[in-house]
């Protein structure tokens, strides 16, 4: 139980499932990896104009980073901050390698029909995200790169990817502040590079709360001069 008076509600999201919400400007979601080993692939859209959406290259190149943690902003393709990472106990979230699809999930985990497994059935991120986007009038043409919370993929000097095992321990938390009216699509399917053939997607706890708009001394605003301009452009959008 929380005693934070700004908490609006809390809920649990099982592994292997999909969830979405339009986070109004001035709200935030704290995600808790309750069991350890969770992965949450998140897609971001401006809910007031869906054609404006999260842009992975703009996010990474404007902050000269290939991983995401506290102080980083998640940029739309229009130069605005859709969300920012205001708290992170993990230190690294993967923005690079996307999410599972039907073929990759079948190859890794085998058949897992609803008929026998009920809601423990084998799902894949691509199909879940496509259905969730359809609820907002979007489709596969609107797919973007995901931010894979709680997961770490290192890029070796050669360029080779290395998935890091046991990166997120039970109780790890990360908080995303919504800096616009931001549709977030959350999918808890396993990370596409997570090894193992046993279907064991992990749940997360969501804590949705009201938060202040970023102040002049906000850590995300000040983390880079680019982000100062990003917040200026975002604030102008709401004038």
């Amino acid at each position: 139980m929380t005693t934070d008076p700004f908490v609006l509600w809390e809920e649990s999201l099982p592994g292997g499932s999909i969830w979405s919400h339009v986070f109004k400007r001035g709200t935030a979601v704290r995600l808790t990896d309750t069991m350890g080993g969770a992965n949450v692939s998140v897609l971001f859209y401006n809910a007031d104009n869906f054609v404006e959406r999260y842009n992975m290259p703009d996010t990474l190149k404007s902050q000269h980073t290939a991983h995401l943690t506290t102080g980083h902003c998640l940029y739309s393709d229009m130069g605005r901050v859709l969300a920012s990472i205001t708290h992170d106990s993990v230190g690294w979230h993967d923005p690079l390698v996307g999410f599972s699809n039907r073929a990759s999930a079948l190859a890794q985990y085998g058949e897992g029909p609803y008929q026998t497994l009920r809601n423990g059935w084998h799902t894949n991120a691509h199909d879940l995200i496509a259905v969730e986007l359809a609820k907002y009038g979007m489709n596969e043409r609107d797919f973007t790169a995901s931010v894979n919370l709680f997961s770490k993929v290192v890029v070796e000097d050669s360029g080779a990817f290395r998935y890091v095992l046991d990166h997120s321990l039970a109780g790890s938390t990360v908080e995303l502040r919504s800096d616009m009216n931001t549709l977030m699509i959350l999918c808890t399917c396993p990370h596409p590079m997570a090894p193992g053939v046993e279907w064991a997607p992990q749940p997360v706890r969501l804590t949705i709360k009201r938060v202040p708009l970023p102040a002049a001394d906000d850590a995300c605003r000040l983390s880079r001069p680019e982000n100062g301009r990003g917040f200026t452009l975002t604030e102008r959008y709401f004038l």
Partner: protein, 213 residues
């Protein structure tokens, strides 16, 4: 980095076209054809998108391409993957050595963030992408402009998770060549960026060639 030369001679190409900096090119490359982009003067960025020519919703995906090959950089052997895991093209020759697909394309809006809000009115790749998509018709529009390949661009990532823009590894006459595994619509913006030292603040032409083999 390993460099692979092509046996194909430019004189035998069935199609040759110069694309000036700040301009774009959109063209359908047929299955079985070979497609080359030449960095004529060196350290230029050819921002490129690929679509299944029979279903534009099935398009190049940077994240799927990188994950399926298990590494960040594109070079000989790289299969350019769609969001459905299909291979649009395979890189068969590369005299540059590596190419980027996490740096994206410049836009008026990202220039404001990266450089200065006053840079808004400078020409940018995503202007070219959207203009050519609209001119092509067939329903292509802004939302179809997803994360592209930057041929000849050098965007190293370190094991510590830092991303930098380095001077190109390209040079005059370097090229990358790919075989179309499917009929593929190719959309190029020859990058007009004047704010990035990668091209010595001097964007230059590229040439595209197609062989019927």
């Amino acid at each position: 980095m390993s460099l692979v030369q092509s046996p194909l001679a430019p004189e035998q190409a069935i199609y040759r076209q110069m694309v000036l900096a700040g301009e774009g090119w959109i063209h359908e490359v047929k299955q079985g054809q070979t497609f080359r982009i030449v960095d004529l003067e060196g350290n230029q960025a050819a921002d490129t998108l690929f679509f299944n020519a029979h279903d534009y919703s099935d398009r190049y995906s940077a994240i799927d391409t990188m994950r399926e090959q298990g590494s960040l950089y594109l070079t000989t052997g790289t299969a350019l993957k769609t969001i459905h895991g299909r291979t649009l093209m395979t890189i068969v020759a590369d005299t540059c050595g590596r190419h980027d697909t996490v740096g994206g394309a410049c836009s008026m809006e990202s220039n404001m963030v990266r450089y200065a809000i006053e840079k808004r009115s400078m020409h940018a790749c995503r202007q070219t992408f959207v203009q050519l998509a609209l001119e092509w018709g067939e329903g292509l529009e802004k939302r179809d402009i997803t994360h592209n390949v930057n041929f000849f661009m050098n965007v190293p990532v370190t094991p510590a998770g830092k991303l930098t823009f380095e001077d190109g590894v390209s040079a005059p006459g370097k090229y990358v060549e790919m075989r179309a595994e499917m009929d593929t619509l190719v959309l190029i913006s020859n990058c007009p960026q004047l704010n990035n030292p990668c091209n010595a603040y001097n964007p230059t032409p590229v040439e595209v060639l197609i062989w019927d083999v």
